[in-house]
């Protein structure tokens, strides 16, 4: 499979001269494989640029098929949704997958953030055929030849991690998530309140333990490295993680390569590149490659 990074930033798109090498668009990753439908994960501002690139493809003729998997519907993961060209071409078919228990509710989340008073056109302006597919954690399903499984991440509003397998290769998308150590994050507004109750801490650990099996033997783990350990210490309730925790998960699962992703808006190119280099030097090996997701880059797996 071929993985292309169209957006690698977290929180909001960053138009700043100090991020032009690694990129400022919000989360969007595309997976392609011979004979398989296009698979996209998250629809941040990078999603718009992916759509433009597809002008030369079967999607321009209205013969494209694809699926969009959403980690969750926080704005930085859906803000490109209304700007994806293939949605406006009749004949294209898409499945939109996100955490939920009902397809109508899922559609409603998108409907409510488009149209007036937030936007100038709605889902009814799409010409492509969209199917809404709600999924939950610990599920397995297929999109064409892609084998996909889900895991629950530790994030306000709850996010899903995806493991995607094809042709003997496996790719894991894991953002947004906090480590499963201090706070259990789900619904409502979270303030900083490290868990003290031993039972709650056990539940956290049990959920965190699921990641070991989920990541087992994966070729690539794309992980939420939004925070430095210092920043995380101040904000365990934000639902974001560190390279240290990500690398721990990677080692437990025997993952072959680890990519920094969902970069902090103020992770400047120079600093982030230096940080990745330092982690690679300290923790990288012939068994575990460490790198950073850069916008526009494609990885052949």
């Amino acid at each position: 499979m071929r993985v292309t990074f169209w957006g690698v930033r977290g929180s909001f798109p960053v138009a700043h001269p100090k991020v032009t090498r690694i990129g400022g668009n919000t989360s969007c990753v595309a997976l392609r494989a011979e004979g398989a439908p296009l698979l996209v994960i998250d629809a941040g501002t990078g999603f718009r640029h992916l759509g433009r690139q597809l002008r030369e493809s079967e999607f321009a003729k209205g013969k494209g098929e694809g699926a969009l998997l959403l980690s969750h519907t926080h704005w930085d993961h859906i803000q490109g949704f209304m700007y994806f060209e293939p949605f406006f071409k009749e004949g294209n078919k898409f499945t939109v997958v996100a955490r939920g228990d009902h397809d109508r509710k899922l559609k409603q989340i998108f409907q409510a953030q488009t149209e007036s008073p937030y936007f100038s056109y709605g889902l009814d302006s799409f010409k492509a055929e969209l199917t809404w597919k709600p999924v939950m954690e610990d599920e397995q399903f297929s999109i064409g030849p892609w084998r996909i499984s889900t895991v629950r991440l530790n994030h306000p509003g709850v996010a899903l991690g995806y493991r995607i397998e094809h042709g003997g290769r496996s790719f894991i998308y894991m953002t947004d998530t906090a480590p499963y150590t201090e706070q259990w994050l789900e619904h409502g507004f979270h303030v900083r309140k490290p868990e003290k109750d031993p039972e709650a801490l056990d539940r956290l650990r049990a959920h965190g333990k699921k990641l070991d099996a989920f990541t087992k033997g994966a070729d690539l783990l794309l992980y939420d490295t939004f925070f430095t350990p210092e920043q995380y210490g101040q904000n365990p309730h934000w639902g974001h993680s560190t390279p240290d925790e990500g690398l721990r998960v990677a080692r437990e699962g025997g993952v072959k390569s680890f990519y920094f992703f969902h970069h902090h808006p103020e992770a400047w190119d120079d600093d982030l590149e230096a940080r990745v280099k330092s982690y690679a030097k300290r923790f990288g090996s012939s068994d575990l490659r460490i790198d950073v997701a850069r916008e526009g880059e494609t990885i052949e797996m």
């Binding site: 798109p13 138009a15 704005w75 406006f88 008073p117 100038s120 302006s125 509003g157």
Partner: protein, 295 residues
């Protein structure tokens, strides 16, 4: 007063080198009155960077006050709000003025923005320093920070959320901000001309080029639905308003995310020629992020 641009894009942000000279953040303008009061026009992503710049001063200590005037509740005009750090620091007072729509007041619309599905903020109540959230009283003048602020609804009567043009007058000097406007047949209407009359600085959106409008193109991309091709003005229409209102200076903003620096520079040149052709004195340029000027 002094004016500084923090966001000059419309629709979606435009990260990357091609737009870096003009800037890629969605709408946000800082206005400092002579008394030092802070007024903000629009809360696009530029608001994050403005907020960051304020933390070294009174706002970092929870002693700051600001009033945000929203041109519209479309995402590109409000998406910086949940990232405006001063609104989370207790003691600051951040007021918001704007226009409700279809039976929803401004607070309800902003609450919808923070809803759990879209944001970890969940509710406006979790931003402790948000003060008054007020629906615009049309035809009224708000006196604040030694200036008077007036609102004028453009795109009146359309199905979409209304856009509000803002005018700030201070001691004989005036700033007029007009964005997300569609003029019938591309000709500015008499009311808007009267509203912008004799402005020292007119900041006007230029989402489309005149070519795009003529060819019936535009929108983010050519294949977008017809709704996406409306609701916005062109470079030529902005100049037209400046000329007819006898404004001194026009700064173009709310640029299309695909409009790179060179294309904007060419469009500005064409507008300067248009002004010359009309024997006008209006000065024309693009707004640039980080650019600061006195009015």
């Amino acid at each position: 007063m002094r004016v500084k641009f923090w966001g000059v894009r419309g629709g979606l942000a435009a990260p990357g080198a091609a737009c870096a000279d003009t800037g890629g953040n969605t709408s946000c303008i800082e206005v400092r009155t002579a008394t030092g009061a802070l007024l903000v026009l629009d809360a696009g992503i530029g608001l994050y960077w403005l907020g960051r710049s304020l933390l070294a001063g009174a706002y970092g200590r929870g002693q700051g006050e600001a009033t945000i005037f929203l041109a519209r509740t479309h995402w590109d005009h409000i998406q910086g709000l949940p990232f405006f750090v001063p609104a989370f620091l207790p003691g600051n007072k951040i007021h918001i003025h704007g226009c409700g729509h279809a039976g929803k007041d401004l607070r309800t619309i902003l609450e919808g923005q923070m809803a759990e599905s879209y944001s970890p903020i969940v509710s406006l109540k979790n931003m402790p320093s948000i003060g008054n959230v007020k629906d615009v009283a049309l035809g009224q003048t708000l006196e604040t920070g030694g200036v008077s602020v007036r609102a004028h609804v453009v795109n009146r009567g359309k199905a979409d959320a209304p856009s509000v043009a803002w005018r700030i007058d201070e001691d004989g000097r005036s700033l007029v901000y007009v964005t997300d406007v569609e003029y019938d047949k591309g000709v500015p209407d008499a009311e808007t001309i009267a509203f912008a009359r004799e402005a020292d600085l007119l900041v006007h959106e230029t989402f489309f080029t005149d070519d795009e409008r003529r060819k019936g193109e535009g929108g983010i991309i050519l294949s977008l639905p017809p709704q996406a091709r409306r609701n916005h003005a062109t470079f030529g229409e902005a100049t037209e308003l400046g000329l007819r209102a006898n404004a001194r200076k026009l700064l173009c903003t709310h640029h299309h995310p695909d409009r790179d620096d060179q294309t904007i520079a060419r469009a500005i040149e064409a507008e300067r020629d248009r002004v010359k052709g009309r024997k006008g004195t209006l000065s024309v340029d693009t707004a640039r992020e980080g650019f600061e000027l006195p009015v």
